[in-house]
């Protein structure tokens, strides 16, 4: 198989991928693009610390191959805000102490960002009483929708507070 170059748009910039097809999207971001904000926890889809947003949807970058993302638009934590210009969710996480060690945080924030969009689009969750009703992001809904992001420091309640505040500010 001849190696063909693939081009991915990451946080608005173009990156070429021409490496070993075994490279996960996660390893490509961290190792080849120097975007080390995205974290590797389990490397098996079980923790969510590698969550990034691909074409508007959150996915686990550890269970995807870089080579499959030719032409895709990817947003990582670095693309959401910078230390001098935090995104509303990033600022709320700081304000609410929504972390201890911080390892899960980039994944939590990318996940929450995409979750707010999913809720706007009316996507139901396992705990939604009514499949046709409007989505109201209660604490219970947020916990269920964020269950793909494990926090070993158990900052869960503050994560929910940070998300609730961001939502309310955005309304």
């Amino acid at each position: 198989m001849p190696q063909t170059n693939r081009s991915l748009t990451i946080n608005g910039d173009t990156y070429e991928f021409s490496g070993d097809p075994r490279t996960s999207l996660l390893d490509f971001l961290r190792r080849d693009c120097g975007l080390t904000g995205t974290k590797k926890g389990c490397d098996h889809g079980q923790c969510g610390s590698c969550t990034v947003i691909v074409n508007g949807q959150r996915i686990n970058s550890c269970l995807s191959l870089a080579v499959m993302h030719d032409g895709d638009a990817i947003t990582t934590i670095e693309g959401l805000g910078t230390p001098d210009d935090l995104s509303p969710l990033q600022a709320a996480f700081v304000k609410h102490d929504a972390y201890q060690c911080g390892y899960c945080t980039p994944g939590q924030i990318c996940s929450a960002q995409a979750m707010l969009e999913e809720a706007k689009a009316g996507w139901p969750s396992f705990v939604s009483d009514d499949l046709d009703g409007e989505v109201k992001l209660t604490r219970e809904e947020i916990s269920e929708r964020m269950s793909g992001n494990i926090c070993r420091c158990a900052a869960y309640s503050n994560i929910v507070e940070a998300i609730l505040e961001t939502m309310e500010a955005g309304e």
């Binding site: 198989m1 097809p21 075994r22 499949l131 046709d132 793909g148």
Partner: protein, 327 residues
């Protein structure tokens, strides 16, 4: 991970022919296959990436609905038609995995997901499904998540998924493109296999077979429910699950279609239960008879015996909720 050739086929027909000729795996979301490839449980020499093939649509088919093979699990669960007419399917999908995983997981990939038997995942242990003829470590090992129905002395693994359980209750059909170019339609209830002497075969797909979609029959009438019992309330596989489509006629059950997850090597469907329930006035006595039929051949392999009373209680609860009868 073992090296492989990555192939982006120009057409489905090409993918089917090449895979039949040269071997290898199709890849869709990759959420199951890549997990297993990292552990070298799966070691395909080539991957055929199906992702750019035109199979990501949900469209009417007669009075039913056709879900394309590449439709993501979230897109399917959130589709207004699925939510309105097939809520058991939305509910079952939403009970599985997480939003991140379901954004990648596809209809076909979900159907073909492999068992979560821990010995299957552990390449240091014998496993007939991973390496035929080496033995089954679960039979006399830790088998808490294993099958109580339909197992063989070669393999007692379960099919772990949720979505397929709803598809069994709905009596959906799997649409397959063959390497010859022909198409075949397999009732989903005949799609997965029992382990028998060939536990390495999870389902009836032959080399070169590509799933192109799943067809749902016209919307059934009545109540649709999915109940999943698991060790934590989110992000965990089922220990027992029940999908039910139940239509009442006044006081009596007119029709009931039931399927069970995590009890066997395939979602379990037993038409005798449906015959028994039809025409009955719902009561706990009737529900117990249904559970007796379900669990007639149930076997406890040492650590999974709890599933026998759990399946009975879950079935009874679902039937109470669906019919308003009992207790």
């Amino acid at each position: 991970m073992k090296p492989f050739d990555y192939i982006r086929p120009e057409s489905l027909e090409y993918a089917a022919q090449q895979q039949q000729r040269d071997g290898g795996r199709f890849i869709a979301g990759g959420t199951n296959l890549l997990d297993l490839m990292k552990l070298e449980v799966e070691t395909p020499e080539r991957l055929f990436d199906l992702n750019r093939m035109p199979m990501a649509q949900i469209e009417p088919e007669g009075e039913g609905l056709r879900i394309g093979a590449l439709v993501s699990n979230n897109a399917c669960a959130a589709d207004p038609r699925v939510r309105r007419d097939y809520p058991v399917l939305s509910r079952a999908i939403l009970a599985g995995a997480t939003f991140q995983l379901r954004n990648r997981a596809t209809t076909a990939g979900n159907l073909c997901q492999r068992t979560r038997c821990y010995y299957f995942y552990n390449t240091a242990m014998p496993c007939n499904k991973r390496e035929p003829g080496t033995g089954c470590s679960a039979l006399n090992g830790i088998n808490r998540i294993h099958a109580i129905l339909g197992a063989s002395d070669q393999c007692i693994a379960t099919y772990p998924g949720d979505m397929a359980v709803a598809l069994y209750a709905l009596d959906a059909t799997v649409e397959i493109l063959q390497a010859s170019g022909g198409r075949r339609h397999v009732p989903v209830r005949d799609f997965h296999r029992l382990p028998g002497d060939e536990p390495e075969k999870d389902n009836v797909l032959e080399p070169g077979d590509v799933i192109t979609g799943v067809v749902l029959p016209p919307p059934p009438q009545g109540v649709q429910l999915y109940r999943k019992v698991r060790e934590r309330s989110s992000y965990a596989f089922a220990l027992v699950s029940v999908a039910a489509v139940v239509r009442m006629d006044g006081e009596r059950i007119a029709e009931a279609s039931l399927a069970f997850g995590a009890l066997a090597h395939k979602p379990w469907h037993d038409p005798r239960i449906e015959t028994l329930l039809a025409g009955e006035v719902p009561s706990d006595a009737v529900f117990d008879k249904a559970a007796d039929l379900l669990l007639e051949g149930a076997e406890d392999y040492g650590h999974n015996g709890y599933k026998i009373p759990l399946a009975r209680r879950t079935l009874k609860e679902v039937l109470r909720n669906a019919t308003g009868g009992g207790q």
